[in-house]
């Protein structure tokens, strides 16, 4: 009886082994798609060995499509237009593409495998995205939960970005976090500065990257990031610039204010900064400096729930209150609004802006999403 059981186990193990071997051989044979030509925007061409996803294939070539989920097919950020060689739409792509996108031949690069020659179209600005390694040269507390970090590039490298853009910072493993996690942060430093970038990073409970920055990152270490990304930037115009951003949402505004100084832009600028209590305020000296350097710049901080000890004499209430009051006092017919923060704040302020004559085509925002 025992011998029979042992014999059966050996036979079954043998069958499993043969089947596993067949699978390996089959995978090597059937997933060897040979050489595949990739054409980008009709004029950039290169040849790769097929079989990998379009996203990883492009990454190897240092072409970075945005991705928030690391290629797991859950964010939809890596969609791009595939004009030829895409094959049928996959079930894993459908939930993240609109009907219009599907009709216009958009596909998810992280799901689509390169199996034949393929032609794609991606925005030109994506070619400006590079991988960088930089040294952390400054970690400074701005508030109890926001730090400013400075990342300096090696002598051989430079970053070229537009004020308002962001980068994806890559964490290093720590404690039980074993994988690199990329997270987006707006650049707070001047765009004229090519050798370093500043980031404002707020500690989030349970946050993988923010815990790493606040508790583990040290000056002198090297970190990786990719960028620059995003299309939030200052637009041409003659009307007043209304800025709304609180907390670390200030980062792109600081970079844009620097452009206004350097380029001597003569438009009126008013920046509404929403916070809860006085301990949430920071960069007050820097804002005072901008008020001196920009002839028509006013910084308006508002505390929604000042504490008695704050001895606060400024605006009180949700940021929508001083914003709405101000908009009623100006001609907003050509004004532009720039916002950076949570979708909730952006929605609340957009309603106020619309109600006071600033239409959506003159509202620009970088939602924290």
């Amino acid at each position: 009886m025992v011998l029979k059981i042992v014999f059966t186990v050996i036979v079954l193990a043998g069958i499993n082994g043969v089947l596993a071997s067949l699978l390996v051989i089959a995978e090597r044979f059937f997933s060897n798609y040979g050489e595949c030509k990739i054409t980008i925007n009709g004029n950039k061409r290169f040849t790769v060995t097929g079989g990998s996803t379009l996203l990883s294939t492009l990454n190897v070539r240092k072409i970075f499509l945005p991705s928030a989920c690391g290629g797991k097919g859950t964010c939809g950020y890596c969609k791009c237009k595939v004009t030829d060689g895409a094959g049928p739409l996959l079930p894993t792509e459908e939930p993240l593409l609109t009907k219009e996108e599907i009709e216009n031949r958009f596909r998810l690069a992280c799901q689509l495998k390169v199996k034949q020659d393929i032609a794609i179209h991606i925005p030109d600005e994506l070619f400006n995205i590079k991988e960088y390694k930089a040294e952390v040269t400054l970690i400074k507390d701005l508030t109890y939960d926001i730090k400013l970090i400075r990342l300096r590039l090696p002598d051989t490298d430079e970053i070229h970005f537009t004020a308002g853009q962001y980068i994806q910072l890559q964490t290093e493993p720590y404690e039980k976090v074993k994988e690199i996690a990329p997270r987006a942060y707006s650049i707070a430093s001047p765009s004229s500065e090519k050798k370093h970038i500043d980031l404002m990073i707020r500690l989030i409970p349970e946050g993988i990257c923010t815990t790493w920055v606040h508790c583990y990152l040290k000056e002198g270490v090297r970190v990786g990031f990719t960028g620059p990304m995003g299309d939030f930037r200052l637009h041409e115009g003659t009307g007043e610039i209304i800025m709304v951003a609180g907390g670390s949402g200030m980062a792109p505004m600081v970079s844009i204010l620097d452009v206004i100084v350097r380029e001597k832009i003569e438009r009126k600028v008013t920046y509404f900064f929403g916070a809860v209590t006085k301990k949430d305020l920071f960069f007050m000296e820097e804002m005072a400096m901008f008020e001196r350097e920009i002839p028509n710049f006013t910084f308006v901080p508002a505390l929604s729930q000042p504490e008695p000890d704050d001895d606060w004499k400024g605006e009180v209430g949700l940021i929508t209150i001083p914003l709405g009051r101000y908009l009623k006092s100006i001609d907003a017919s050509v004004a532009q609004a720039y916002m950076c923060g949570s979708p909730g704040m952006i929605k609340a302020c957009a309603n106020i802006l619309n109600a006071n004559g600033i239409s959506n085509d003159r509202i620009y925002y970088d939602p924290f999403a």
């Binding site: 964010c75 993240l96 609180g246 949700l318």
Partner: protein, 153 residues
């Protein structure tokens, strides 16, 4: 019982460092289905449903959002919703992302705090998952009866 590879992959999503720093299990070694089943039994005993709980929790989020990160006073309790940049995927593996909202509900009479996230609400509504024991954002079904009654007119 040996886990299917897909189940093993999903289990890994619940571990620390994959989606959140401390994960969703808090050291709970039970199978996820067992965690869900036992919490469901508790809910049934209390006459609650996961839909009822999720609806109430979502209502609190919507009320809390109006405070733009400040504390919203609702009489017997307060709500504060903080919104972080980025989106987070569900550890159960389906497509779609969820906003990084962290909610703190403070029950004045009990001087007790309850914390959860937008993702918590999704996992309760869609999967009946309240979090492993001792996980950071676990909502214990035993204690949810009072929460469900809060703010009702």
């Amino acid at each position: 019982m040996k886990q299917h590879p897909e189940e093993q992959n999903i289990r890994q999503n619940f571990e620390p460092g994959k989606i959140s720093k401390d994960g969703f299990l808090g050291g709970d070694t039970r199978h996820i289905h067992d965690i869900i089943r036992e919490d469901q039994r508790t809910l049934s005993r209390l006459g609650l449903s996961r839909e009822m709980v999720a609806q109430r929790l979502q209502w609190m989020i919507e009320e809390g959002k109006k405070g733009l990160e400040g504390v919203v006073d609702k009489g017997d309790f307060t709500i504060q919703v903080r919104w972080a940049r980025g989106m987070v995927s569900c550890p159960f593996g389906e497509s779609g992302l969820h906003h990084k909202l962290m909610v703190t509900v403070f029950l004045k009479k009990l001087t007790k705090e309850m914390k959860y996230t937008q993702l918590s609400v999704h996992m309760i509504a869609e999967h009946g998952f309240f979090g492993g024991k001792q996980s950071t954002y676990r909502l214990d079904p035993e204690k949810l009866g009072l929460l469900v009654e809060l703010g009702k007119e």
